[in-house]
């Protein structure tokens, strides 16, 4: 029995039993509580603070080959019963429109309880501390610029404590507690002659108040703003001819999330998200044999990285988590599966089912996705580039709904001349296909870094915390675009 749970866990078991007695051949009851709080500053002044507590139960049933989900925050016996009844009745009602019954794989599901331990409690991030850190960031950033103004800095700092208890009809019992900390700053730099430049800074991970010390927020933001001032004032257009381009860990991280993680979600490959987040260029017969890139292109997805933003040890269907190779040495390798997609592919789930909150059905999601680093130093990576561009960070990006045609617009970027970083470059545009990117990888350094994000998918849209990362990656013969 879990101590201090927000409801009697016997109710979850009863809900599962009730679903089975009403005809379900699989049932799952998930209690989930998410407590989030934040404070927002604009420049050195507080705007407001808030707390959000989402607590309820999501019920999922497989009945007559049809899948039903119902969520309620009425945590009484009657409330859960009503949710089970709705899930069953509406799933049954739709079953006549199904030609092929939905089935789940049998899995060795877990019975476990785990908690991310903090070195310093989330409670140490008091309101005074959050406000004083925000004011420090604003003061230091405004003091760091020389020839531009800083009309706006928006700062937000928050915590997120997530607790889940998942019980399934085939024996899963998973209790977890994961605390997270997040910090965001939106900085606008303005010049009379050169216009404006905008940068969003983001920090997020699982853990406690100790994270904020480790992030060195003020120092990191201030130093980058100093460099961005130089970009705004002195940035030149990128070369118009094809050159070697080195993309930094932040861009590489986003790129693998978008062009490796998403297309390797098995539900997307099958078309379940076709009308929302789209499908995938990956087809089932490509898995294990289609060459998407050079042998240096290996992308890993791993929920078990300690301290990561996408951390979990069991997924929301009770399956134990493990690392997976999405692309391995340039080959399309292993899709992300839940128990439904795994059944269709004739394999086992690799524990990718996640839900944003109690109102959300578990669907196939990423956790922490990264480009596998190599063993070169950064200097070795660029030493023989006569003329090239280094794209360190980005603001604008997007990708098509098959995860093939994508665009990243550099923010902090530099020319590379004779093996060294040179003058700043303004808004270089990398617009490239997925195969175009991975097949032009000719060098990978060893500087693996992770960046946080909130990945959106599903209907209703679910945002789940993730990390994405990578090392510096060198691409050959790239034609960059410019902002019109």
């Amino acid at each position: 029995m879990v101590k201090n749970l927000g409801l009697d866990e016997g109710l979850l078991m009863k809900a599962v039993d009730l679903a089975l007695s009403e005809g379900a051949h699989y049932a799952e009851a998930r209690y989930q509580k998410d407590i989030m709080d934040n404070v927002v500053l604009r420049n050195e002044k507080v705007i407001g603070g808030g707390t959000e507590i989402k607590e309820g139960v999501g019920i999922r049933v497989l009945v007559e080959g049809s899948l039903g989900f119902a969520a309620t925050n009425d945590l009484t016996s009657e409330g859960l019963k009503a949710a089970v009844t709705a899930a069953i009745a509406r799933a049954k009602g739709m079953s006549r429109l199904r030609r092929v019954p939905i089935e789940f794989t049998d899995e060795r599901v877990g019975k476990a309880s785990y908690e991310v331990k903090t070195r310093k409690s989330l409670k140490d991030l008091t309101m005074e501390y959050r406000i004083s850190l925000g004011k420090e960031v604003v003061k230091e950033v405004k003091g760091s610029v020389k020839s531009v103004t800083v009309p706006v800095i928006m700062y937000e700092m928050g915590t997120h404590l997530q607790e889940k208890l998942i019980i399934t009809s085939d024996g899963a019992y998973i209790h977890s507690i994961v605390p997270r900390v997040n910090l965001m700053a939106n900085v606008v730099l303005a010049s009379q002659e050169k216009g404006t430049l905008q940068r969003m800074f983001e920090f997020a991970a699982s853990g406690g108040a100790e994270l904020v010390d480790e992030w060195r927020v003020t120092e990191k933001i201030t130093q980058e703003v100093e460099r961005l001032e130089n970009i705004l004032l002195k940035g030149v257009q990128p070369p118009s001819e094809e050159v070697d381009v080195v993309v930094g860990p932040e861009v590489v991280g986003l790129l693998v999330h978008e062009s490796s993680g998403h297309p390797m979600e098995a539900d997307r490959i099958l078309g379940r998200e076709a009308a929302q987040a789209g499908e995938s260029f990956v087809k089932p017969d490509m898995i294990g044999n289609y060459r998407i890139g050079s042998e240096l292109a290996t992308v890993v997805e791993d929920p078990t990285i300690p301290g990561s933003n996408g951390f979990y040890l069991y997924d929301d269907e009770g399956v134990p988590a493990r690392p997976r190779y999405l692309y391995k040495e340039g080959l399309i390798y292993e899709p992300l599966h839940n128990r439904h997609t795994a059944k269709i592919f004739g394999t086992n789930s690799n524990a990718a089912a996640r839900s944003m909150d109690y109102r959300s059905e578990p669907i196939v999601r990423m956790s922490n996705t990264y480009f596998k680093p190599g063993d070169m130093t950064f200097n070795e990576l660029i030493e023989d580039i006569r003329l090239g561009v280094y794209i360190k960070s980005y603001m604008e990006w997007n990708i098509d709904d098959q995860r093939w045609n994508q665009r990243y617009v550099g923010l902090e970027s530099y020319m590379i001349r004779d093996g060294e970083l040179a003058e700043p470059v303004k808004n270089p545009v990398l617009e490239i296909t997925t195969k175009g990117f991975y097949s032009r990888v000719v060098g990978v350094d060893r500087n693996l870094e992770f960046f946080p994000g909130t990945c959106g998918k599903g209907e209703p849209a679910q945002g789940v915390p993730v990390w994405f990362g990578g090392p510096n990656v060198r691409l050959s013969k790239i034609k960059l675009g410019v902002i019109q």
């Binding site: 705007i47 039903g68 119902a70 309620t72 009503a82 404006t196 379940r272 604008e396 997007n398 045609n405």
Partner: protein, 443 residues
Amino acid sequence: MSIPLDIGKKVVDKLRPKFDDVAVVINQKDYVMVKLWNSEPSVTQSWMDTQVSLLLTKDKKVLMLGLSVRDPEAILGAVENLGPAIQNMEESELYAPLPEPTRLSPLTGTVDKAVIEAMRDPSPLVEEMLEGAAEYKVDRVAGTLVLGKSTRTLVTSKGFEGVEEGTELEAYLRAFKGEFSGHWAFGSRRVEKEMIRDVGAKAGYYATLSSSKAEFTPGKYDVVLSPLVIGNLIDYIGFMASAAAVLMGFSMFMKFKPGDKVGSEKFTLEDIPRDVELPGSVSFDDEGVPTSNKPIIHEGKLVNLLHNSGTAKKMGAESTGNAGWLMPSPWNLKIPTGDLNEEDLARELGNGIIINNNWYTRLQNYVEGIFSTVSRDATLLVKNGEIVGNLGRIRIADRFTTLLNNIENYTKKHYKIKWWEVETPVKAPYVLIRNLNITKPFI
């Protein structure tokens, strides 16, 4: 008297002695969503939910609380736990006292019993959509049908008490034929069977309109954007029209003031909360201020930013009835119609590109309005008034000011659109825009 109103009054009464301002919003929702995949239901989701939001101020300090509970004692207990948080907060730059209640003009026609009836068994409406697409002999479809009813209750310490009920229907479908696809969407407060069928039919129409591929060279093109595409883009314009977005650095309107030209004389953008045809319709905002229909941009000139009391005080304006306590936002959006013939868009365009649908709009810089968005579904190259083929996925990469300034004309009919990529309900026709920058990958 409704139960939520009782709860709201009880909470406000209990908290009034401890705070300067108290507002409670209680949202009760009963929704069902059928999601389609490969022409079959993939999941049927139901929500039976009560969400409580509280605004509390003390000595100009502002705290907000969101709770998924329905018991007044639990709400008060959660507020007790906040004690130190508000004490340690500082004065808000955007604090303004809650407004005194004024006379409301309630909306009628926000509830359609047919929606509630259809929630019991949504399958006939799902079949309408499927049959609409089947007329075009498509290979498969995917999409969503949402039916729901909600009750929104607001009680404030200034004496405002309001309860509004509404129903909602949202339907969208994507149809596939070979490697091509089409998409359509519809959002309303009512069951409109012919429109639901039309969602499927229009998706099927665009999926089958051209069965050949075409190529293009990146550059400037005249384009016709469907109501879905322009709906997505004006969703961003509406967001940037929020005074809070301006103050926080997330708006192209940072560089403009009311009266400035921001678009073509042909372009007017209105916030229409009092149009009960759209599911965003409300008669009062989250501070109890009566809503009104109003232009944001009128004939190319910026007229109104969207305000709550706090942003209005900060910027020397009046509330526009668009609270959000922190973030004012539009309720429903509308752009004008024109005289283009929808049945012959290719001839109206002459040379250029017709875009059925888009997604993934992102900005390099909100202040400059530099953005790009990616087409999906039918993206049709037009030469000499004829569709010559499908371009696949391309990108509009330009500035919002350029887009608004280059608007030339519209078709004659509004569509009511709401879907995954158009979160604020809109009334929009097809739009003809000259000289937009269109790009694609170099490899």
